[in-house]
Symmetry: C2
Subunit: 410 residues, 2 copies
């Protein structure tokens, strides 16, 4: 029999996962930056060169020696000799002396001898050669110095970074074509239960459509995982053990979501224990919903036994599988979107259990209100209505209306 009394708290479960799954590691995989959106960096990316690589003008105007312009004003302009122009995308060999200037477009290279840019609006050509400058500039003004954007060897992006569009831009700016990201964690999802049937077949009255393999697979994909197997199998020891052993070869994590029948959890636990050591190390978690969750390890792979109940299975998947997959991918804390809100009503919790309360968010003039929504156990549409959930701590006796809460967004 499963020892339901020896349940762990959420904190204990996280700690155990840290310890047991220490040797469960993902490898790096080199990919082109054009394919990198949303992937997670396996190692820090250092700048292989400095940016900009040359002194770059940030305006359209004239490269000058700043001290030539000191004192210049509308009434008393400085006059400079315009000795040439720099073309975009071209290097310049020009050497500028005191009393001279050169036209440089935005993004163009400052010629040797100059140290500032006068904006085109603050200057006027009196003739082809002579430029009147009506405003003084300080050394470095309107100029981006070599390495000012990033220094060579500086860390651009850290291990665990989820690559955004602008990161891809910065990588291209540095001429970096390929980066090493985490391989996607490979996950197999099995649903067990004699009453579980293909949702798209003709269903007999009393039978339950398979929800979990679809919902859990999608959620795991959201976490960056790759689904390598997705199966519904009968609730029978030999069949489950055989299938589990087979799919474990191809994956890092095996998720078994049990049927609702009473004996299922025992079968799953027995299979995990019999497949390899150390077997099951979490026998139930002090949460609501999701208590009958088991977690084990067999031959360096993680195995989760989730409740068959879809709402429970989805919440447990979000919290605990999400945690493990994040850990495996060295995710930065706070990657998951959370929002602070005020509770719109009193919310009850279950004593001795961490409670996950589904909520709808309302934006009231820049203040989010979190409205608890309820549904009978098993109401799958509840999760389609919720914007997220609140975690109510084990030791907390519910939440009072108006209290500040943190909402984990779906």
């Amino acid at each position: 029999m499963m020892e339901l009394l020896k349940v762990d708290t959420v904190e204990q479960v996280m700690k155990k996962m840290e310890d047991y799954f220490k040797d469960l590691v993902l490898e790096g995989q080199e990919i082109h930056i054009a394919d990198a959106l949303g992937r997670i960096l396996y190692e820090d990316v250092e700048a292989p060169l400095e940016l900009p690589e040359f002194r770059r003008s940030t305006v359209d105007g004239y490269a000058v020696l700043a001290k030539d312009t000191f004192g210049a004003s509308e009434g008393l302009p400085t006059f400079l000799n315009n000795i040439g122009k720099v073309e975009m995308g071209k290097s310049t060999e020009l050497i500028v002396n005191s009393g001279e200037c050169v036209y440089v477009p935005t993004g163009g290279m400052l010629p040797s001898g100059t140290d500032a840019m006068v904006m085109i609006e603050h200057a006027e050509h009196l003739d082809e050669l002579t430029l009147a400058v009506y405003q003084s500039v300080a050394p470095g003004e309107n100029v981006m110095q070599v390495g000012e954007d990033i220094q060579k060897g500086e860390i651009l992006l850290k291990r665990g970074r989820k690559i955004k569009a602008q990161d891809i831009g910065a990588l291209a700016a540095l001429g970096i074509e390929k980066i090493t990201v985490f391989e996607r964690p490979k996950v197999a999802v099995l649903s067990t239960g004699d009453e579980i049937v293909d949702p798209f077949s003709k269903v007999q009255l009393g039978q339950i459509r398979d929800i979990n393999t679809y919902a859990l697979s999608a959620m795991i994909e959201e976490f960056g995982g790759e689904i390598v197997h997705r199966l519904v199998i009968q609730d029978e020891y030999n069949q489950l053990k055989e299938k589990a052993a087979e799919v474990l070869k191809d994956c890092h994590v095996l998720v078994i979501s049990g049927g609702s029948s009473v004996g299922t959890k025992d079968v799953t636990a027995k299979v995990i224990n019999d497949l390899g050591t150390p077997g099951v190390f979490v026998h139930g978690i002090a949460i609501k919903p999701g208590k009958p969750t088991i977690i084990g390890k067999t031959n360096h792979k993680a195995v989760f036994g989730l409740p068959g109940h879809p709402v429970s299975a989805i919440i447990v998947c979000k919290v605990f599988l999400g945690y493990l997959l994040d850990r495996l991918q060295a995710q930065e804390a706070g990657e998951h979107k959370t929002i602070y809100a005020a509770a719109a009503a009193n919310i009850h919790s279950s004593p001795g259990k961490e409670t996950y309360q589904m909520v709808i968010l309302e934006d009231q003039n820049g203040e989010y209100l979190a409205k608890p929504i309820h549904g009978k156990s098993g109401a799958i549409t509840l999760l389609t209505k919720a914007h997220g959930y609140i975690r109510i701590d084990t030791n907390k006796e519910g939440i009072e209306k108006g209290e500040k809460v943190k909402v984990v967004l779906f």
Copy 2:
């Protein structure tokens, strides 16, 4: 010459896009629910059946007539005849009369004649036939009624819904195998500029690596778009016109990001005008950064001329292309993640322009602080550091330290 004085406000631009792009529509595409994560619904999904389809127990226990249990207590139990059990996943033909009960597992079907479930914890078998019930139940207690989760014909998910994992679960629960989502908006991205070179080739001093095609493509993919062409071409009228005409055949939206050279914007505008009517209808936007942005329409396609400057191009893409692609996909408002925060410092704005200020977020005991970060124009690493940005309204003179701000997250 481009008429830079006739710039539009952000509001005017959004309004013009609404008007001009009314006839730019995406079609629906039928896909399997297993492929639906993150796709956007083209039409409402109605429940083709009710859930549950039978009266379902939410507990392990005994189906009873509630009135038989009225008055039952620890000291004075009600005695019932246990006439059978219901098996999971099976229909039941049993008919229960007053004084009788039937065992039903969680998720099992209630037999005819019963109207409530007594939890197993509140009952005891005295012998094989006789059950003592120690607590009364109300009619409907621990029972999910037919259609209580969702009614037949009720709308489960609305047009514009971005499909989440739990939605896929609900669709499976209803036996829905395929749904119609918006086809992905097809977008072509062209970078123009003689100084722009392949970022991974040997770059001459003074040349600029192509950042924009990579960064913009990734951002457009984030918006659900599909990149059908990605090219760098020379900053020359005939070449640009020819290429633009060619790629327009395959896409809904063409994005041309201009080089930094002065004449580029004129070339892009002329090409858009010459390709078809009505041509360019936005000649610059009162924003910072991103002012020299043009938007046009040619042969029922949208064409954007973005600044060549990567930071400006990325911000304009996020705000205006994001808006159009959302509109095309009937996105729910608020799909884009925003967070409220307190400004960590005074923030200046540009008079007469809507200013986009990059910020870093810090979580201070449940209160987010938005710290403005600055970089010289052209510093691409600025965007990799920012968590998001604040929009400062045209008519607002900056933001004071401590003021509440809305941060659009990257």
